[in-house]
C-alpha cells in the first residue's frame, strides 16, 4: 500500500500541533483526591515501591486501624520523586520516610549527616502542610556494595576507591544518577566516577543478581537487605558520610496528625530497630513469599502494639 509522504508528515505535524493545545496541568501530578475522595477523617497512607517501604506503611496502617483510625491504602506508588508531590498536595497523608534522603530531597544543599542533626534540620525544613513525627532508632541507609573479591582487590572503604571507580560499572535505581547523595555525591565526596551506570531496580532482586553475576561491580543496596549477608557482599565504609543518617520517620500531613495518631505512630517508631528491619526483610524474602500484611500483623502482635 502506497502512503504518500506528504500525508505522513502532515499527520505527524497535526499530532504535534494537537499537543500544543494540551492542558497546562502536569500529567505527572497525582490525581488530586482520586476518583472517590477520602472522607476528611480518613488517613491515606502511601509508600515507595520497594518492599520495606510497603511493609512500614502497612505497619502504620494496621497499628492505626487497631487504634480505631480509618485508613486508606495506596501503596507502591514509585520513588519519592513520584509520591512526594502527592503528599504535598493532599492526595496522600502519611508515608514512611528516611530522615537523610528526605532532607536532601527537600534541600539538596543540606550538609548534616549525624542522626540528630539531620532530624533537627528536617523538622524545621519540611514544607507545610507536612511534618515529621518522632524518628526511630531503626536505620536503613543506601550504601555502595561490592562483592568480596572486589573488596579484597580495591579496599573496603569508599575512601580507598577514588580513581579505581573508573574501572567499575555501577548499578542502582534510575534516580540514583541525579540524587545529591547518588552519583553526584560520590563524585564530589570521594572523586569517584564510575565508568558506566546501569539503571536497575530499587535495591531489589535484579540489583542483587546483577552484582552477584558480575554485570555490575558496585551497586546501591539497602543496609537492611539480608541479601548482603547471604551473598557475602561487602558494604563499603563511608567515612566522609556521603550517605547521611537515614532513620525511619513518619512523614505526615500536620492536619491529620491528631494526638491519637501521633501517639500510635510514635509508639511504632519506638519499637522499630535496625536489627528488626533486617529480620522483617528476611521474612519477606523467605521462599514462601508471605504477604506484606501477614508479616506486618505478626510484627505488631510481637511488639504489643
Amino acid at each position: 500500500m502506497k502512503r504518500t509522504s506528504p500525508l505522513l508528515t502532515g499527520a505527524l505535524a497535526a499530532l504535534l500541533a494537537l499537543s500544543a493545545c494540551g492542558g497546562g496541568s502536569d500529567p505527572l501530578a497525582p490525581s488530586g483526591g482520586g476518583e472517590e475522595p477520602a472522607p476528611a477523617d480518613t488517613l491515606t497512607i502511601t509508600s515507595a515501591d520497594f518492599p520495606e517501604s510497603q511493609l512500614l506503611a502497612e505497619i502504620y496502617a494496621q497499628a492505626l486501624e487497631k487504634a480505631g483510625v480509618s485508613v486508606q491504602r495506596d501503596f507502591n506508588i514509585g520513588a519519592r520523586e513520584v509520591y512526594f508531590p502527592g503528599l504535598n498536595d493532599g492526595s496522600y497523608d502519611l508515608a514512611p520516610e528516611y530522615t537523610g534522603v528526605l532532607l536532601q530531597y527537600i534541600n539538596p544543599a543540606a550538609t548534616e549527616t549525624a542522626p540528630d542533626a539531620v532530624y533537627e534540620a528536617l523538622k524545621t525544613q519540611v514544607p507545610a502542610p507536612l511534618t515529621v513525627l518522632e524518628r526511630s532508632e531503626a536505620e536503613n541507609k543506601d550504601a555502595v556494595v561490592v562483592t568480596a573479591e572486589t573488596a579484597q582487590r580495591y579496599g573496603s572503604s569508599l575512601a580507598d576507591y577514588g580513581q579505581a571507580c573508573g574501572e567499575l560499572v555501577f548499578g542502582g535505581p534510575p534516580e540514583f544518577q541525579t540524587r545529591p547523595d547518588g552519583l553526584p555525591g560520590l563524585a564530589e565526596t570521594y572523586g569517584c566516577t564510575f565508568t558506566e551506570f546501569r539503571p536497575l531496580d530499587t535495591g531489589g532482586p535484579v540489583t542483587v543478581a546483577a552484582l552477584a553475576d558480575g554485570t555490575v561491580q558496585a551497586a546501591d543496596l539497602f543496609t537492611t537487605d539480608p541479601a548482603i549477608e547471604e551473598n557475602g557482599f561487602v558494604v563499603l565504609e563511608d567515612p566522609q558520610n556521603n550517605f547521611a543518617a537515614q532513620n525511619v520517620v513518619p512523614l505526615i500531613n500536620s492536619a491529620k496528625a491528631t494526638p491519637q495518631v501521633t501517639e500510635v505512630l510514635n509508639a511504632v517508631s519506638g519499637k522499630l530497630t535496625t536489627e528488626g528491619l533486617i529480620d522483617l526483610n528476611r521474612q519477606l524474602n523467605a521462599p514462601e513469599k508471605p504477604e506484606v500484611n501477614t508479616v506486618a500483623e505478626a510484627w505488631i502482635a510481637e511488639n504489643g502494639l
Partner: protein, 253 residues
Amino acid sequence: MNILAEVMTWLTSGANWTGSSGVPIRVLEHLYYSGLALLLGLVIAVPIGVAVGHTGRGSFLVVGAANGLRALPELGLLILLVLAMGIGLLPVVLALSVLAIPPLLAGTYAGVRNVDRSVVDAARGMGMRESQVLVRVELPNALPLVLGGVRSAALQVIATAAVAAYVSYGGLGRYLIDGLRQQDYAQMASGALLIALLALAVEAVLALLQRAVVSPGLRDGGRRSPTVDVARPAPDSSPTPRTPAPELAGVER
C-alpha cells in the same frame, strides 16, 4: 503549549545527544535488540510457515499458534525471562522474538498458501520439481504477504523494545522509565516521540524495501487488505465473498 516547549527544549539540548545515554546510543541499542529478535523470529517462523503453507498440513496449528502467541503479554514474558536468566542479551531477544513470530508465521503461511493454484499447477506442468516450485514460484509470489508479515513483526518488536527498559535494558524506553522515576515529563514525552518516530521510520524503510523487492507483476495498487484479497482476487468476480483467512486480519499489507 508548555509541554511542547519542554519537549523541544529537551530535544534540542546537546547534553541529551552525547554520552552513553544520549539519543544516538539509545536508538542504536533499540535497533540492536529489535534486529536480533526479528532475525530470530524469521529463522523460526519462515521455515514453519513455508512448510505448512506448501503442504497444507498442520494449518490449524499455525493459526492457533499465531493467535495464541499474539495473546501473550509482552511485559510479563520479559520479566519472567529476566528473573530466570538475569540481565543479558538472551532474555530480551527471546522475549521480543516470541512477539515477532505470530505476524511472521501468519504472513508466511498465508503468502505461500494463497499463491494462485493455477500458477503452481503450471509450474508443475512445466516439469519443475517440488523444491523448484517452492523456490522459484511459490516464494516469489508469496513475497507481498510475507513482507507484510515482516513489517507487522518489526513494528511489534520496536514497540515492545521500549518496554524492555523497565527491566534495566537500554534503548529509547529508558527515557520513558527514567523520566517516570525522576518525574521529568519532558524526558518521557521526548522519549515517546522518538520511539514513535523510529517506528515510523522503520515502517517507511520496510515499505520501500517491499516495493523494491516484490516483482512488478505482483504489485497491485494494494489498497485492499489481504483479508479481502484472499477472498476475492478481483472485484465483482464472485457472487458471495468467502470468509477471508482470519489469521490475516491485522497483518500489514
